[in-house]
């Protein structure tokens, strides 16, 4: 794998080259073989319980592990027209949850309108907020808006210590995140009895798997309470995917082979049964449909006969579609599994 070390950072936006490396050079057994041995091949959806909408790739942060390669320089952003298509889907189906992600979803100019329209349709809304955006002046009112709408807030805080958090998410991010969490707590988020859910996300700050979710959650609760008087509801452990920036990190740090072997050797059939793609449908900023946000960033649209664009949405076809898989899927089946809602077993 030494030859990969010389690859330029352009790799993080070269999807074809990423797929070639992940699928052809990882040196591990094909993911579909693991599924087959578990009696799960071909992997199929069991319904659509979550419509995950990526509102755009623009972000005020440039985290080192970001599979979206999001940042302030990204211009891709969802239009109101595509959002209206999403709302039409909600009108036509009973999909109960809408999960808003990005980039920083708040940076989409139609964000508040879109959330309001979803809530009018009485659906549960999850906003994946990076926290620091809430400490900037233009977005200072957003915590109150979240509360008014009753949205669930899910936010990354890779560790309860400053150095490890800033190492992954950028200098100063930890202190701003703490500031935002205090503000959300002040609104009632993360507090017992308020019904306002504030869930945090643990990402490994390197080439290793996350710990047992319940164990690290207890530690987060104790440490954040003791150090900062911060409360939250649940901690989700999420495995880093060998995609985009994290893939570049793996290659440059010469951890690629070892990490892929780790994901492969940690394959858990029970996690494979519960992977999130089986109940999630991901929509990109330009209206294309994917099995998950990771496939979206690898530009692997839904396939096997399912409609690929929101303009051609067909619930019955999508609810039972065959999932598009690749070697990166080992990231969701390693150990206790990984999803946007944390461990799956």
């Amino acid at each position: 794998m030494d030859k990969l070390v010389v690859l330029q950072d352009d790799l993080r936006r070269d999807v074809n080259e990423q797929l070639k490396i992940i699928n052809d050079e990882s040196g591990i057994a094909p993911f579909d073989e693991a599924l087959d041995a578990s009696g799960l091949h071909p992997l199929t959806a069991t319904g659509v319980e979550v419509l995950q909408v990526n509102l755009g790739k623009m972000c005020n942060q440039t985290c080192k592990h970001c599979h979206v390669d999001a940042g302030p320089d990204r211009k891709e952003i969802m239009t109101k027209e595509i959002m209206e298509k999403c709302l039409q889907i909600l009108d036509d189906t009973e999909i109960p949850v809408v999960d808003l992600t990005g980039g920083a979803p708040e940076l989409n100019p139609q964000f508040k309108w879109f959330v309001s329209e979803i809530k009018k349709r009485n659906r549960h809304v999850i906003v994946r907020s990076n926290l620091t955006i809430l400490t900037t002046r233009p977005f200072a009112s957003y915590p109150a808006f979240f509360k008014e709408m009753g949205v669930e807030v899910v936010s990354s805080l890779p560790y309860f210590l400053e150095d490890r958090t800033d190492q992954q998410r950028g200098e100063g991010v930890f202190q701003k995140s703490i500031e935002a969490l205090k503000k959300l707590n002040g609104m009632g988020y993360g507090k017992d009895g308020t019904g306002l859910s504030l869930n945090l996300v643990y990402n490994p700050t390197g080439a290793f798997l996350p710990p047992v979710q319940s164990s690290i959650e207890n530690e987060y609760k104790r440490e954040l309470k003791t150090r900062f008087d911060i409360d939250f509801n649940s901690l989700y452990t999420i495995t880093n995917m060998p995609i985009s920036r994290f893939l570049v990190y793996l290659i440059h740090s010469k951890n690629f082979d070892r990490y892929m072997k780790k994901l492969h050797s940690s394959y858990n059939p029970a996690a494979a049964v519960n992977v999130m793609c089986r109940t999630t449908l991901s929509v990109s900023w330009d209206g294309y449909l994917y099995d998950c946000d990771f496939n979206q960033m690898l530009e692997l649209t839904v396939n096997h006969g399912a409609p690929v664009h929101i303009n051609d949405f067909d619930y019955s076809q999508l609810a039972n579609r065959r999932i598009v898989t690749g070697q990166h899927c080992y990231g969701c089946t390693a150990g206790a599994g990984s999803s946007c809602g944390g461990a799956v077993v």
């Binding site: 210590l161 490994p204 290793f208 996350p210 047992v212 164990s215």
Partner: protein, 110 residues
């Protein structure tokens, strides 16, 4: 440059069962049970293993249990403290043998 220790050799650990499968089977089962959650958590056991790895100065074990500690949720502060415990015991073990030296000095001296 060739060295006695190659990180990739760790993946060949199971080769130690090739000529003695029953012994390897017993070792593997016992090893697995040792590190399972019990009166001590898996995380505590991983930290002990990390400290012992340094005491026995096994590079394979240091590599494996550094990763294991991270995956059990330990941080660098905790892991460094664990290694200091190993170092303190090693240093203390040398030092306490100085009592023997002093005993011998006393015995040989007028």
């Amino acid at each position: 440059m060739e060295t006695y220790y190659d990180p990739l050799d760790l993946e060949k650990f199971a080769d130690m069962g090739k000529n003695v499968p029953e012994l390897w089977k017993k070792f593997s089962e016992w090893y697995g049970n040792v590190f399972a959650e019990g009166a001590l958590t898996e995380r505590e056991k991983a930290l002990i293993a990390l400290a012992v790895s340094h005491a026995v100065q096994c590079p394979y074990c240091i590599d494996a249990y550094t990763q294991e500690c991270l995956e059990k949720g330990s941080n660098k502060d905790q892991m460094t403290e664990a290694v200091h415990v190993a170092a303190a015991i090693r240093g203390g073990a040398s030092l306490v043998h100085g009592v023997q030296m002093r005993n011998v000095v006393e015995k040989l001296s007028m």
